[in-house]
């Protein structure tokens, strides 16, 4: 491992571990998703540093591209603010779980780390050049010695797609209302045929609270949009204004 790789390793390793820790301790699931995306990208860089450029690209495309977007999509379906409940179903489970996993981590790091001090570092330069490149080398292995597992993954992918469709499919229990049924239902309860009249626009102030006027000069409250009507924000009809408007529209100036 030369100096450049060491620099890349330490930067990416620190970022990856901080992303993982942030993923575990974030209260909101969206923040967790963003933290783990950071970890995935840094792992991709580490793959490339390990002379696995193909896997690095696949990592970015599949994980940060497809998988994390799927996670975010499901987060939006489930509700962004669905944070953790603090109720423990099994009492006192958190602390022992935390301690035991930390113990597992120390055991793994210590045991594996100390057993690998004199490990070989053959490097992949020869294996990557023998077929003309990393992608060609992986393709060679995939279509010769790993052909049967490779074919099996296609069955797995199709099964997974089918499973997702079956699980996410919702059967329609009631008939989908047609346009005819909708219009019958609307007029049976006395709905208005066609559009409601527009508010009377005299562009002097907040125009949508100005009611339209009937031919006899009385205001028509239905012409005010329902939310404005609900908060009783209907402007009174100012007959002096009306006189001005009529005079302007008839071409006389005051």
């Amino acid at each position: 491992m030369n100096t450049g790789e060491a620099v890349v390793f330490w930067i990416c390793a620190i970022l990856a571990v901080s992303g993982a820790v942030g993923m575990v301790i974030s209260r909101k699931a969206v923040h967790s998703a963003l933290w783990i995306a950071l970890t995935m990208i840094n792992l991709a860089i580490l793959y490339v540093a390990n002379s696995a450029p193909f896997l690095g690209m696949v990592q970015i495309v599949v994980y940060t591209g497809a998988v994390m977007m799927l996670f975010l999509f499901v987060l939006m379906v489930v509700g962004v603010d669905s944070s953790d409940s603090l109720i423990e179903t099994i009492k006192g489970q958190r602390i022992p779980a935390l301690l035991l996993t930390l113990g597992l981590g120390i055991l793994l790091v210590w045991g594996i780390g100390s057993s690998l001090t004199g490990a070989p570092d053959a490097g992949l330069e020869q294996a990557n050049t023998i077929d003309g490149g990393n992608v060609q080398g992986i393709a060679h292995l995939l279509f010769t010695s790993y052909l049967i597992p490779f074919e099996a993954t296609s069955a797995l992918l199709i099964t997974a797609a089918m499973g997702a469709m079956v699980l996410a499919h919702r059967e329609r229990w009631v008939v989908k209302p047609t346009q005819k049924m909708l219009s019958i239902a609307r007029f049976r309860t006395g709905g208005h045929p066609g559009n409601l009249p527009n508010p009377g626009i005299y562009a002097r102030h907040n125009a949508v609270d100005t009611p339209a006027l009937l031919p006899d000069g009385t205001p028509l409250p239905e012409s005010i949009p329902a939310p404005v009507r609900a908060r009783a924000d209907i402007a009174p009809v100012d007959h002096v204004d009306l006189h001005d408007v009529r005079a302007i529209s008839e071409g006389h100036s005051k």
Partner: protein, 99 residues
């Protein structure tokens, strides 16, 4: 500094993912932790491939990615289905098969 640093990093990420699976209750975060553990194993595979000078480890990591992708699809569909019936994404909610 030798390539076993990658293995140590992989072990650390794996343990952090394990903590996430055991401590968090939100099903989606548990699921992301499982993904983190799979990625840690992938890093170990890639590093072993480099240490032994053979591409087999990279092919295995590739298979792990394929399996992880299909696992994510089915698992997220399960989460959506459970959420639709129970209105909750907590892993403690689906307890009807408990006894």
């Amino acid at each position: 500094m030798n390539p076993s640093n990658y293995i140590v990093l992989s072990a650390m990420l794996f343990s952090i993912g394990g903590i996430g699976v055991l401590v968090r209750r939100n099903a989606i975060i548990v699921f992301m932790s499982v993904e983190l553990m799979l990625n840690a194993a992938n890093l170990a595979f890639v590093c072993f491939a480099r240490m032994n000078g053979s591409l087999d480890g990279q092919v295995v990591a590739f298979f792990v990615m394929v399996v992880a992708a299909s696992e994510v699809v089915v698992g997220l569909a399960l989460i959506v289905t459970v959420f639709r019936t129970r209105r909750s994404a907590s892993v403690d909610e689906p307890n009807l098969l408990k006894y």
